[in-house]
């Protein structure tokens, strides 16, 4: 485990050092961005809409019953922006894109394509890892922002259509606006940015260390997704705690 962590840190560092070469790899970055967006947008829309809806459905009736109907929009908006959207998107992207990255790079490793790159003096980190990491770092925060907006809409629609809640759209959004600040959205987007690095590095690392044949590729894909999700949840706690501590010092409150 410690060897894996060390290798991932090293891979991350080598990729950061290669960042100035991003412009040269811009076509691959755009391809990857398109791949991530195209593959995920419909899923993100459906998932976000229903997560916002479920959250409203879970909290709305109880809050209305206790005379707190004015807080439903705020609670839903706040939870989605700070927590649900970033973690949901990160897990979705780990499953959908992280697995594809690990499989593609793993297959290239097994079938000697990466060795072929090295014999041509082409650095696999520059050619394979850098475009993927940059693309996911750009795409995931954008997906998080989109997810927040769709989940808010989902929450508002469910609040309006559910008889036990019955909050008009305008009231829902007014309440949301009163409780949720731009920094809350920025908080979620920042988390998305950090989770993107985790998904990208874990997936690329698992791909690069793939051994054996198709079975090895399958194992790498599983490990890439599971390890990424575990790291996302742990780092989510760490980031949230960090924000709480910084908030107590009056920073980022």
């Amino acid at each position: 485990m410690f060897q894996n962590i060390g290798e991932m840190v090293l891979l991350f560092w080598q990729t950061l050092r290669a960042l100035p070469l991003t412009w040269r790899q811009r076509d691959k970055v755009l391809d990857q961005c398109f791949e991530i967006g195209n593959a995920s947008l419909l899923m993100v829309t459906v998932l976000s809409f229903f997560i916002g809806g479920v959250l409203t459905l879970q909290t709305g009736p109880t809050m209305v019953e206790r005379g707190l109907a004015n807080y439903v929009g705020g609670i839903v908006g706040f939870s989605v922006a700070r927590e649900l959207a970033p973690i949901m998107m990160a897990i979705l992207i780990a499953g959908r894109i992280g697995s594809a990255m690990a499989a593609e790079i793993g297959s290239m490793r097994v079938y000697q394509e990466i060795d072929a790159l090295r014999t041509m003096n082409i650095n696999p980190i520059h050619y394979l890892v850098l475009p993927r990491l940059v693309a996911i770092t750009v795409a995931l925060p954008m997906l998080v922002t989109f997810s927040i907006l769709v989940a808010w809409l989902g929450g508002a629609v469910v609040a309006r259509l559910t008889a036990e809640i019955d909050i008009p759209l305008q009231s829902f959004f007014e309440n949301l606006k009163a409780m949720v600040a731009l920094k809350d959205v920025a908080h979620g987007v920042f988390k998305g940015f950090c989770f993107a690095w985790i998904v990208g590095i874990v997936a690329c690392h698992q791909g690069l260390v793939t051994r054996g044949g198709p079975r090895g590729i399958g194992r790498s894909v599983t490990k890439a997704v599971v390890n990424a999700i575990v790291l996302i949840v742990i780092s989510d706690f760490a980031l949230t705690r960090l924000f709480v501590v910084l908030g107590s010092f009056g920073i980022l409150k």
Partner: protein, 255 residues
């Protein structure tokens, strides 16, 4: 030997005391070899004898535990030396990038290193594919090619860098006899035309004796015989006799 200019075709390769362990198994047990500039040097041996591992060390994909590899007398463990010489390798599977077309694969080296403008790269790609008899396949995906065509495309990709040394890892494995002859002929023609030094790893006896100027027999990580094809064919060593004469009538227990 002094360093040659990188424009000179064909380099001399010397291997001195090369050793490599994987766990407790010593795969290369002190290899010593001299490959002359411009020759086709074939390394033969049974599966698991360390042929491919030796090739991976020669191209720098793996580092030895001991010993050194010299090109024109200079150790390639020194990065500056390794950069000075143009080495290429044709992998057993071809190792074409499946996400790229054949043309993109062949032009990859020039494109990634920005050595030529796109129009010039396209011209070179067409020219190299023509050399290996694959003209018109630029826009095909590797998956659309047969095994033999993939290997020839891999040779075209290797040629793009105008290498001074080409390493071939089992170039005729998984090919039918006719395709094997075509690939073997390509290796010989390239060697004659460009003077490039070629090291071929194979257990294909017909290929080895058909194209090799000199041969080495590798067995359990050691060179057990080295010489021109006639010398190898005449070798009285049982291990070589068994390897060269192996057929379905032979008792495997004697191997």
């Amino acid at each position: 030997m002094s360093a040659t200019s990188s424009t000179q075709p064909g380099v001399a390769v010397q291997v001195r005391g090369l050793r490599r362990h994987y766990g407790t198994q010593e795969v290369l047990q002190g290899i010593d070899l001299d490959v002359l500039p411009g020759e086709i040097f074939v390394i033969m041996g049974p599966s698991g004898s360390g042929k491919s591992v030796l090739l991976r060390h020669l191209i720098g994909l793996e580092q030895p535990d001991a010993g050194e590899i010299l090109i024109n007398g200079e150790s390639i463990q020194t990065p500056a030396v390794a950069d000075r010489y143009r080495l290429a390798m044709v992998f057993q599977s071809g190792a074409l990038l499946n996400s790229l077309t054949v043309g993109e694969n062949v032009g990859l080296y020039l494109r990634e290193h920005r050595l030529k403008p796109p129009a010039e790269i396209a011209r070179i790609v067409t020219e190299k594919l023509d050399v290996v008899g694959l003209k018109g396949t630029e826009n095909k995906m590797p998956g659309e090619l047969s095994g033999g065509m993939k290997k020839r495309a891999a040779i075209a990709r290797a040629l793009v860098s105008e290498p001074q040394l080409i390493l071939y890892d089992e170039p005729t494995s998984e090919l039918d006899p006719l395709s094997s002859v075509v690939v073997g002929e390509e290796i010989r023609k390239l060697n004659q035309r460009t003077g490039v030094t070629s090291i071929v790893v194979s257990h294909d006896r017909d290929l080895a004796f058909g194209i090799g100027h000199r041969l080495a027999i590798l067995h359990e990580g050691r060179i057990v015989a080295l010489g021109v094809p006639e010398e190898i064919k005449a070798s009285p060593l049982p291990i070589i006799r068994n390897f060269l004469n192996a057929d379905f009538k032979l008792d495997p227990s004697n191997l």
